[in-house]
Symmetry: C2
């Protein structure tokens, strides 16, 4: 009897956990499109900063607003890498995201730290510092894409 | 001769304006995907708040973080409704966006004001105020979609 209660409690806990994971997304396709959307905006903001850094006198206001929005968005896509969203829609997410979660988390946090540094540099207005911070942020994006995103 | 100089100056000014409009987007498809991405995230955040408001005791933290991100994103899609992006990709944008820019702008600003109010209400934690502000924000989204977004 004790064991049956335990089994029931576990099943209930599992159910609650699952619905919790899903709470913010109506279905797997929604989670995939949500993370793709947030990452697309982030990628575009990185390109805008890159385009400015092609100039010897970049537009610092464009860099500042882009870096500030990147800083806000840096955590947004990652709540949507939920279980059950591998091979859903046109996702390019590799299975390693779920089989090696610690390594995925590590690269995610690295990117977030570097985006925060890029935002600091952008606010300082020091172009040399922005160039260095941008290079580091770009490398962090790439190293995660290399390991966890399928080649199209 | 004077007139030819004037014509040349006008042509140059026009060229500069155009490249300025395009500055942040590599091509029309990029602008379309950028605005769709930002609007998709915004729509999802609205749904999250709606889902919480279905409960008699909604999760105020979820509402607060969703409303805060909405408030940051509220202007983001609109820089991408640039000329030359009608009928590009799978855009649902109606031609009226460009033929009636004042009316489009008016509805955009109305939505932005109401999203700001929703964020204020969310921060106050007053559920009745959140419900009222959410209803107004939702109406503002809908009235713009009704007039300026093609039915799918």
């Amino acid at each position: 009897m004790q064991q049956r209660h335990l089994a029931l409690a576990l099943a209930l806990a599992l159910l609650l956990c699952t619905s919790r994971v899903w709470a913010q997304f109506a279905k797997p396709e929604t989670a995939v499109r949500y993370r793709q959307s947030a990452l697309y905006v982030m990628g575009n903001l990185m390109q805008r900063i890159a385009a400015q850094l092609d100039y010897s006198r970049p537009n610092l206001e464009t860099i500042r607003t882009s870096a500030a929005l990147l800083d806000v968005l840096k955590t947004v896509p990652f709540e949507a890498f939920v279980e059950g969203t591998l091979d859903v829609g046109d996702t390019a997410a590799k299975p390693e995201i779920w089989t090696e979660p610690e390594r995925f988390k590590k690269l995610t946090v690295e990117m977030q730290d570097r985006v925060a540094s890029l935002n600091d540099a952008a606010r300082s207005g020091d172009v040399a510092a922005i160039r260095a911070a941008f290079g580091e942020a770009g490398k962090a994006c790439k190293s995660c894409h290399d390991d966890f995103r399928k080649k199209r």
